[in-house]
């Protein structure tokens, strides 16, 4: 039995939690709950970052954790919640695939993700290298969520969950990116969400709904 220090066990628990939350999001149809799940995922990400920062004495990880806390746990969920209330979109319609098929596909994706992560993890020397597979799985699961959902709001939440996966991947493989890049990425996500806010109101004004089947007329006609 390999001895794993307590702190790292905690990081691994956080990682497992992230994956579990990804599955929960995949099956959840209540949009408000999706936002809570996203916020929880952000909180776990923040906790994992803090634990790693504590263990490895990488000071920039503290800033990264603070950024996650401010942006992904507090500001973005608040913004999304406000948008949901203002736009009155509480439920997503039936997804393109039914829940059990989605779940099974999700399992296949996780296996694939761990396969993909193997060569990367083998080279990594960071303390949290065993969680790279989870990060890739979170990214791919979020990707699948974006593909199978119909409501604009759920797709956006999928997008943000993908961003969480990317951050977690960067952290477990390399202890995060350099500060300039991390700040830039955070800025882009923030601006993206603000642009989206404006955008949702435009869609609403025009179609009186946020259902994306209104947005399917621009196709190549046979």
């Amino acid at each position: 039995m390999v001895h794993v220090p307590l702190l790292l066990q905690l990081v691994n628990t956080c990682a497992a939690g992230l994956l579990l939350l990804s599955f929960a999001m995949l099956s959840q149809r209540r949009v408000v709950t999706l936002v809570y799940l996203l916020a929880t995922q952000g909180a776990l990400l923040c906790l994992a970052t803090l634990l790693l920062a504590w263990r490895t004495h990488q000071h920039h990880l503290y800033i990264s954790a603070a950024l996650t806390l401010g942006l992904k746990v507090m500001f973005l969920p608040w913004l999304l919640h406000r948008l949901i209330r203002r736009l009155d979109v509480y439920w997503d319609t039936e997804p393109l695939l039914n829940t059990s098929v989605t779940m099974l596909l999700g399992l296949v994706i996780v296996v694939f993700a761990f396969g993909l992560a193997q060569p990367i993890a083998a080279l990594s020397s960071t303390a949290a290298r065993s969680t790279i597979g989870i990060a890739i799985a979170v990214i791919l699961l979020a990707f699948m969520m974006m593909i199978t959902r119909r409501k604009a709001m759920s797709q956006v939440i999928g997008f943000l969950s993908m961003e969480n996966g990317l951050f977690f991947g960067a952290m477990s493989a390399t202890y995060g990116m350099p500060m300039v890049v991390e700040l830039g990425v955070a800025l882009d996500v923030l601006v993206a969400m603000l642009v989206l806010g404006v955008f949702f109101f435009q869609i609403r004004e025009q179609f009186d709904s946020l259902d994306l089947h209104h947005l399917e007329s621009l196709k190549e006609k046979p």
């Binding site: 080279l123 990707f143 990425v185 993206a192 435009q202 025009q206």
Partner: protein, 485 residues
């Protein structure tokens, strides 16, 4: 100094036009800022030609022959598009399609978009390159939806989501490169994202990680280049946004995204020492050329027609970069230049033609040459240039690419030739009745600015007949730097 001016001018422009963008003189101010940016780009070019590569601000920015030529091209087309958009946007205002608030948004975002492209081109940090590419998407999303029609909202949403997801893949690729580099470059990790440092140690980077990274990067940035089958956003965004934006998206943004792909390819190829990246680029390129040529036949909207033509040309350029080697790279760089100039010139004439006909549907645009010979001839000459008729520059570039393909990848030559032929017939068959035929056009309330069209076409013609030695030398240096087989 020139460098500060180059990046600072568009930012100042965005701030100022964010406040005054709806004034009567705002279009002129927009053009003025673009002119200053262009002047700074020229000054920078002169310096690079005289003194060689430059590193600025703790190596965070890097200018070499490859990107300085794209910087100049971007600033030039940015300036001429600003000139074109002056009367164009005034006509749109008169037609009641825009409110002053949206005009302000348009002007501010136009400058911001220029800034993000210049930042993407000049940065040495591949992380910042990612940030700038995402910024370029974000600054144009609200421009695509500027008219707030249902179709434009749909196009904007597609653009946002597809490019957003694509660019997220590219971020993962960037993280993987950083991961591979950190082992080799070491240090505080700050230098492990700098392209110049990565280029110096590229043979030491772990090949397996780099090949996974390249797949993610190619899919990510490839979405923005509009490579098939990731091109879905492109025709919609081009057709539904205002025409000046179609011109800069097609003429500039696609180039910048391809630039990002090529920068990454140089690193990955150095690390792998195999054909994998080249083969992937050639594959994506060929699929794009063929698919776009087929889709060209189905188009009814004139801007969608030329958007698909952009997919086709980007496919050819990607294929050429995939073949690699000094000649193919030279041809690809030349093609990037002439495609960018020709396509933006075409969009300028298309914009006014659609305004005159009151529709973007090709069946309703007729007899341009009778009422307005300049628009008619502009569209005719532009189309002849883009389908690759001699003596225009596109012909020279395509000829070089085809002859190189015959030597290096003979199997691909018939496919390319066939696709080019199909595209020729599709575009020409559509344009001919629009230019000639019975007129339906009406008079515009503001006289169109068509000088940029003929300036662009004149440069393209010149590049077809004769590439000035300094320009050729410059392309050659860049082509050698990109390398390949």
């Amino acid at each position: 100094m020139e460098f500060l001016l180059l990046l600072g001018t568009p930012v100042a422009g965005a701030l100022l036009l964010g406040v005054f963008g709806a004034r009567r003189w705002a279009p002129e101010l927009n053009a003025l800022f673009s002119l200053v940016t262009f002047a700074a780009a020229c000054a920078l070019t002169v310096r690079i030609v005289a003194h060689g590569n430059v590193l600025v601000a703790h190596e965070q920015f890097f200018i070499d022959p490859f990107n300085v030529f794209l910087v100049t091209l971007t600033a030039f087309v940015g300036f001429t598009t600003a000139l074109f958009s002056r009367p164009y946007m005034r006509v749109e205002m008169t037609h009641g399609r825009l409110s002053p608030g949206r005009l302000r948004l348009y002007h501010a975002m136009y400058q911001l978009f220029t800034f993000t492209m210049l930042l993407a081109l000049t940065t040495n940090n591949i992380g910042l390159l990612w940030v700038a590419m995402e910024g370029a998407t974000l600054s144009t999303v609200l421009l695509v939806t500027l008219y707030r029609t249902p179709a434009s909202l749909e196009a904007g949403w597609k653009y946002f989501i597809l490019c957003g997801v694509g660019i997220a893949q590219a971020l993962f690729g960037t993280i993987l490169i950083y991961f591979a580099a950190e082992k080799v470059v070491g240090g505080e990790g700050v230098t492990a994202l700098l392209w110049t440092h990565l280029d110096a140690v590229k043979t030491l980077l772990e090949p397996r990680v780099m090949s996974i990274a390249f797949v993610f990067l190619l899919v990510g940035y490839g979405t923005k280049v509009g490579l098939a089958p990731l091109h879905n956003w492109l025709p919609d965004a081009h057709a539904e946004g205002p025409t000046p934006i179609s011109a800069v998206l097609s003429g500039l943004l696609l180039n910048v995204a391809l630039y990002a792909v090529v920068r990454c390819k140089v690193l990955v190829e150095g690390s792998l020492g195999s054909q994998l990246p080249s083969t992937m680029l050639m594959g994506f390129g060929l699929v794009s050329v063929v698919l776009a040529a087929l889709f060209l036949w189905r188009q009814r909207d004139i801007k969608r027609l030329f958007a698909y033509s952009s997919v086709e040309h980007m496919g050819i350029i990607t294929f050429a970069f995939g073949m690699g080697g000094p000649v193919a790279n030279f041809a690809a760089l030349l093609h990037m230049t002439v495609h960018s100039l020709t396509k933006s010139a075409i969009f300028f004439t298309v914009g006014h033609a659609a305004q005159k006909a009151g529709s973007q549907l090709m069946d309703q645009i007729r007899g341009l040459i009778t009422l307005s010979p300049t628009i008619g001839w502009g569209l005719m000459l532009g189309s002849l240039a883009i389908v690759g008729m001699p003596p225009f520059g596109v012909f020279a570039a395509e000829f070089l690419i085809l002859t190189t393909a015959m030597k290096q990848q003979p199997w691909a030559t018939p496919i390319l030739l066939l696709a080019l032929g199909v595209a020729f017939a599709a575009v020409f068959g559509r344009v001919q009745p629009m230019v000639f035929g019975e007129t339906t056009a009406k008079r515009l309330p503001h006289p169109p600015a068509l000088l940029p069209v003929f300036v662009h076409l004149a440069i393209v013609l010149m590049l077809g007949l004769f590439v000035p030695p300094y320009l050729a030398g410059w392309y050659r240096q860049a082509a050698i730097m990109i390398g390949g087989h």
